[in-house]
Symmetry: C2
Subunit: 148 residues, 2 copies
DNA sequence: CTGCATCCTCTAGCCGCTAGAGGATCAAGC
DNA sequence: GCTTGATCCTCTAGCGGCTAGAGGATGCAG
């Protein structure tokens, strides 16, 4: 049976070593076996589980949602309605983000189009930022715009 | 001359009180005057400055970018090329996010379309998460997908 | 046996806030 | 004048989802 060091698992899944340890810490990954010198040893199941986690994270699922999805995947007899609901919810979240970002894009394009090359005092960009009433779109909603 | 308490400023700009104090702490807002009993007192200029900050945050500008934009707004004789550059950069960031989110949406829609109603073991959603090779799109890139 | 890669644990930092403790002060009603 | 409740103050800690670094123990190749 194959067994991997944390570094090999990291390379196999393209997930960084500290991130793997972090996932273990928050309980997404089980505590692995250890060598005599306390090094973590992983198997095929861990590779699959970590790939699952990575994929779900790429799709924007929150850790708590992934926890639920993993619980479902671990217990194939449970009804999967919850998984569908989580996927639908995540889809709604993503669609909401897209809409908001498109409104921002319109606004930024308007600002960029009025590209000025003079002094900051006449700058359209700064003017537009200072006066929200110049905005065509309503890009309100949550102020939190994290990294993609 | 009008002067506002922090609470009134918060209501006037729709920015929460602790957030205003936070902006002061990180130097986006200047330290305001104080009453004898140490309460902050704001004026019209603060309302404008905070509205500027809020608007820029809504557009997704990072605090450091806002710092630069404020410096430009404060000194209208400086050339505004930097402001245009910041706006263009932010536009590129937003467009990148939109593209990535659209890829995620495609994938999530595919998952949601195959909506199953049986056991988790047969669930398309879970299967799709477990096997990235089922994905049509390449939604790779940065794993960090923050809140909108 | 040297030297470097990898591993371990632990703590602290990132961003942009948000929440709460524990206390002072203000404004309005009686 | 007194009480009550809203608002204010400072300070510290927490959120999510990692990431970075200290300081040390192993492992493996030449």
């Amino acid at each position: 049976m194959t067994s991997l060091s944390i570094g090999r698992l990291a390379r196999a899944t393209d997930v960084k070593v500290p991130t793997i340890r972090f996932y273990e810490q928050i309980g997404l990954l089980p505590e692995p076996e250890r060598t005599e010198s306390d090094r973590r040893l992983y198997g095929e199941a861990d590779v699959r589980r970590l790939a699952f986690i990575k994929h779900a994270r790429q799709l924007g699922f929150a850790v708590e949602a992934i926890r639920s999805l993993l619980a479902l995947a671990d217990d194939p007899d449970r009804p999967c309605a919850e998984a569908n609901a989580l996927a639908a919810e995540q889809l709604a979240v993503v669609e909401g983000k897209i809409e908001r970002l498109q409104a921002l894009r319109r606004e930024l394009r308007r600002m960029a189009r009025a590209d000025c090359d003079g002094r900051a005092g006449d700058c359209r960009v700064i003017e537009a930022l200072g006066d929200h009433s110049l905005c065509a779109d309503d890009h309100d909603g949550p102020t939190t715009l994290g990294a993609l």
